[in-house]
Amino acid sequence: MGTQTIEDLLKTPLHGLHMELGAKMVPFAGYDMPVQYKLGVLGEHLHTRAKAGLFDVSHMGQAVLVGPDHETTARALETLVAADLVSLERGAMRYTQLLNPQGGIIDDLMVTRPADAEDEGKLLLVVNAACKHGDYDYMNANLPKNVSLEVRDDLALLALQGPSAVDILANWCPEAADLVFMTGKPTFFDDIPCHVSRSGYTGEDGCEISVPAGKAEAMARTLLDHDEVEPIGLGARDSLRLEAGLCLYGHDIDETTTPVEAALTWSVGKRRREEGGFPGAGKILAQIADGAPRKRVGIRPEGKGPAREGTEIHDADGNVIGAVTSGGFGPTANAPVAMGYVAKDFAKVGTPLSLMVRGKPRAAEVATMPFIEKRYRK
């Protein structure tokens, strides 16, 4: 985005509200987005883990696949991803990745089968902002004639995350309290029609709310009026997802990493492992059977200094065995946390690593992720 001027940046429906709240704005994926508000990254991170944080994630791509029936639509998308989507129940949500023919990840996305019978044949998609146009082109080029992609630029997306999030949301949207993790349904927030799912990108309980763009600001203002809700920017969104061990596209996963290397094998459906039929299936299934040459792992550097993205990882003898793909200070872990790729022999939890931080070796260890206790409501 280096050549883009401020004037070229897109704005979400909440842009005016961000400015009013005193947000510090940065360019992100072509949008002018809040990186932090008055609490600051650390305060916003801790507030989200303690109470509830409101995130504007309207820059993400929302789209609907429309086909004649669930199985047809699910099978159409299954030609591009490795998740089992045919088996999705109504109202269930699944995490998966669009794959290229080499088994690399074009994008990661959430797929929801609508809860209502009248939406039979549809799948709701949420994709990354920076990838959305490429994703849409890829899907349009590969979908059968009877399944079409409808881009929903008319919708905003809010996330309310944290231990109090669902109780708070239920004041205006009581049905939110009935949802379990990774399910969603169409409902109302007062009189605003919306789609609520119990999901998020923080490791906390919470919801993501898809709402008509013109109603998003009213909803956000109502939520922010609650004592326990603070607006949270992209800075804390990143530190929260890192502590939760969740991948950031373009950093921890990209077109050169397979789901197996990325430690996302759990998202490859059992039936899909037997049947194949997704891009890069040969490579991915061979890696599941025989192991991948490298693996994404959690890393805990010793001491207090963070190891940032790009930090080389060495073994005890000084050989380069990988690199950090995300790293920073975990405010809840109260310690530096990181993730990165290491050669397969070094992926076991507890393996000592050496991180080359500003030319000097720093002791570290392969660690279990998440770095915090997840509090999803199963």
Binding site: V41, G235, A236, K304, G305, P306, R308, F329
Partner: protein, 125 residues
């Protein structure tokens, strides 16, 4: 008699005799956000003006701090190891980084006084 000088890299230099106390300015800490770690040089190290003397880590990013003057590191602020947040709370006081013994006092003449620094930062936003 003490004087405070400032650099365009947002450091302050408090000179008392031939020893200078150095830190980052309040403007710098506001820009960085919450400081979570400060890497300080070893006592006894000789640094030249412009050398990397310290690194400040916020939640989001690492920023180098360059030596504003030439000299020897004679003391570091060990309290920052346990409470790096002092840099945010009191950047131009308890959040100091290092003390240096000056090699060349004429270098101080190239630095800004407080009024000049305030004019400089006012032009940045």
């Amino acid at each position: 008699m003490s004087t405070v000088k400032f650099t365009e890299d947002h450091e302050w230099v408090l000179v008392e005799g031939d020893v200078a106390t150095i830190g980052i300015t309040n403007y710098a800490q506001e820009q960085l956000g919450d400081v979570v770690f400060v890497e300080l040089p070893e006592v006894g190290r000789e640094v030249a003006k412009g050398d990397e003397a310290a690194v400040v880590e916020s939640v989001k990013a690492a920023s180098e701090v360059y030596a504003p003057i030439t000299g020897e590191i004679v003391e570091i602020n060990g309290a920052l190891d346990e409470t790096p947040a002092k840099v945010n709370e009191d950047a131009q006081g308890a959040g100091w980084f290092v003390k240096m013994k000056l090699s060349d006092t004429s270098e101080l003449e190239e630095l800004m006084d407080e009024a000049a620094y305030n004019t400089f930062t006012a032009g940045l936003d």
